[in-house]
């Protein structure tokens, strides 16, 4: 079902005006009154951790003249600092952002003491009629106490990236399971000294690789009801695979994956593939633009014990500040950019942000797109398969406590200081004593 803007402004929009006015008026109980802008010039402040993420909102804003004419100012800051700053301004009733980009791993900050409910626009009623048209997992990622607050900016689906020229040169065969991957990886490294993948140490914060394997296996950091989910056989199996990948030299372990070492590994052709989310392509492009046409994506290896086609990691949800007279204008901009088919198509074509709308994966404007960096590969059919079986990342206000407990143990296991079983056991014990 196509969602027209007219329909939104007619139904959702009018409801939104009422919904927004109530808290706005309540918040201004001191006497000043704020009226919700329904048309005209609007100045919007947009806070985000990556300027690239803002380009789509800026494009929509620049191309729109009715009913709002937007002028946006963008504040770019580290993801962690951005949320800290936003919470401080919300708390102090300062100059809050009109639209805020929240990294998925930081959403838990808004779940604490239901800060989301206190400061952010509850979009549940406004997306009720279109909710089913999008992958539910991306709504859940920015929800709290059953209410939705965020609109996903990109669907970080995870393929396996490979250097086609080097795979051919080293005669690397097709790989369908992680067990095979271990064997092929070890053999390839022993013959040619190259790795089929790389992973970084967590350094206490980054659970990307554990998250990918764990969620591919069907594990979940937190259950739907918010219970801690790491105390599971899937967690041990995921960590054991990571250890085996490093030990067998199938993967190279790096202390600085996103820095010079990661770039050098790709530039020198030492790491010739990787199981990473869709945003990894921009990292390859920025560090090694000369490798254009040499990469391709495939479905990642599966676990022989079951699980999903692939894992998932990352994402940034756009949230709208509550109670502002500009909220309707902000919501309209967000709606046009990420909640319409045209918006999703434009996002993909302009910025390569994967759609979250189910029907977009069959839209010819997208399916026919040939990625020049990936040698003209039409990637959407592959991503569509992964999207259909994508895991849901349930959230909890204890996400940071989980990371704090788990990340050091993952590092210790990767350094060979602990077994996978004892690392998970220790992480669970630490989490339970801290959360």
């Amino acid at each position: 079902m196509d969602v027209s803007r007219r329909r939104f402004l007619g139904y959702g929009g009018s409801g939104l005006v009422i919904g927004l006015l109530t808290p706005a008026v309540a918040a201004c109980g001191g006497g000043s009154s704020a009226s919700t802008a329904t048309s005209g010039k609007v100045q919007l402040s947009l806070w985000v951790q990556d300027p690239g993420l803002a380009t789509d909102l800026q494009r929509t804003a620049a191309g729109q003249t009715k009913p709002f004419q937007y002028h946006t100012t963008t504040v770019v800051q580290d993801a962690q600092d951005l949320i800290t700053k936003a919470l401080a301004t919300y708390s102090a009733h300062g100059q809050v952002p009109d639209i805020l980009g929240v990294d998925i791993t930081l959403w838990s900050k808004f779940m604490t003491s239901d800060l989301a409910g206190a400061y952010l626009l509850d979009i549940t009623p406004h997306v009720a009629s279109i909710r089913d048209e999008f992958y539910e997992s991306r709504w859940i990622a920015y929800a709290n106490q059953g209410q939705l607050y965020g609109v996903e900016s990109n669907f970080p689906l995870t393929p396996y990236y490979k250097r086609t020229d080097l795979f051919e040169k080293y005669n690397v065969p097709e790989i369908s399971t992680w067990d095979e991957f271990l064997q092929v990886g070890a053999a390839t490294h022993s013959k040619h000294g190259v790795y089929l993948g790389a992973m970084g140490q967590t350094n206490g914060v980054d659970l990307t690789w554990f998250g990918l394997f764990f969620q591919q296996l069907g594990g979940s950091f937190f259950t739907e009801s918010g219970d801690f989910g790491v105390d599971s056989p899937e967690a041990v199996q995921a960590l054991q695979l990571m250890m085996d990948l490093v030990k067998s030299n199938s993967y190279q372990l790096m202390s600085n994956f996103y820095g010079g070492a990661g770039t050098a590994a790709l530039a020198q052709g030492k790491v010739i593939g990787n199981y990473m989310p869709s945003w990894y392509e921009s990292i390859i492009v920025s560090g090694n633009p000369n490798q254009k046409g040499k990469w391709a994506i495939t479905l990642p290896p599966r676990f022989s014990t079951g699980g999903h086609i692939s894992g998932i990691w990352g994402g940034t949800g756009w949230v709208v500040s509550k109670g502002s007279p500009k909220s309707l204008a902000v919501w309209d901009l967000l709606y046009q950019t990420r909640l319409t088919l045209d918006g999703q198509v434009a996002d993909f074509k302009d910025s390569y942000f994967l759609p979250t709308m189910k029907s977009a994966f069959t839209d010819p404007r997208i399916t026919s797109y040939a990625d020049p960096f990936l040698g003209g590969q039409q990637t959407i059919p592959l991503y569509a398969k992964i999207a259909a079986d994508s895991p849901t990342q349930y959230q909890s206000e204890h996400w940071a406590a989980m990371t704090n407990a788990l990340a050091p143990e993952v590092d210790k296991a990767l350094l060979g200081e602990e077994s996978a079983t004892s690392a998970i056991k220790n992480a669970v014990a630490t989490y339970k004593s801290n959360a």
Partner: protein, 265 residues
């Protein structure tokens, strides 16, 4: 400060209402293995700064102060340069230099001595040593400036008289330079102690405190608890502990060095 003390007796997420926690945050710190690890790491950094960086700075300053040294201003500039460099640039350069597989240092060690690669940033022991190396690199030149200023204020006739009495270089250094530099040394040691006890930049930019908290400092712990974990009360309690410890040690050092006492008292 008063707010921090007040906060340390509460649980607070940074926004919304505070909840009274009594001594709960302090009890939690006492039982926290991670807190013990970061305190121990910080002790290593402070010890390295006081026992290695300060003497090294004094030696370099003495060398630069010697008569007949050419290009003194150039060397002063070189030693001071790390202080004014951007931490982002330092992070970029040092992570490239120290990387296990692609780093320049390992390449040099392998090329010169055939050594296997050392995991400077990824091994728990080497990560701490790497942070100390960065502290050494960043702080030594800064302290050299203070010592140089102190050395310039030592009357030349003292050295001349000692020379006439037959005192050798080492004896002149021991019996004139060190005692005359006592006020400067006191200032430098206390300043370094206070600064390094709160060390944040070096482990943060080099290892992010990893692997497995092996190089995390107390200041980083406080930052993480406040801005990552959103446990502002707990972070405040750790901050108060840090303040008390640094204050007490600084006072002890001030007494040892006789800061504030008149000569002869």
């Amino acid at each position: 400060m008063i707010f921090a003390v007040w906060l340390s007796f509460h649980q607070w997420a940074g926004a919304g209402p505070m909840q009274w926690a009594g001594f709960g945050n302090y009890t939690q710190l006492w039982h926290s293995q991670q807190f013990r690890t970061v305190v121990w790491n910080t002790c290593w950094y402070v010890a390295a700064a006081v026992l290695v960086v300060v003497p090294l700075a004094l030696l370099i300053a003495s060398a630069l102060n010697m008569r007949g040294i050419r290009g003194r201003d150039f060397f002063r500039l070189v030693f001071f340069l790390p202080v004014v460099l951007s931490p982002v640039m330092i992070a970029l350069v040092f992570t490239i230099i120290l990387d296990k597989n692609y780093g320049l240092l390992n390449a040099a060690l392998h090329g010169l001595f055939g050594m296997p690669p050392i995991d400077f940033l990824g091994s728990p022991v080497w990560a701490k040593i790497s942070v100390i190396m960065l502290v050494l690199w960043r702080w030594t030149g800064y302290l050299v400036i203070y010592f140089l200023a102190g050395l310039r204020n030592i009357p030349a006739e003292l050295y001349e008289a000692a020379e006439l009495d037959g005192a050798r270089t080492l004896n002149r250094f021991r019996h004139i330079t060190i005692p005359m530099l006592r006020p400067v040394t006191a200032f430098v040691v206390i300043t370094v102690l206070i600064a390094v006890a709160q060390i944040f930049d070096e482990p943060f930019i080099l290892t992010q405190g990893g692997p497995a908290n092996a190089s995390e400092s107390l200041a980083q712990f406080i930052y993480n608890q406040a801005f990552v974990q959103q446990q502002f009360g707990y972070a405040a309690a750790a901050g108060i502990v840090l303040f008390v410890v640094v204050f007490v040690i600084s006072m002890m050092l001030a007494r040892i060095f006789g800061v504030g006492r008149e000569v002869g008292q």
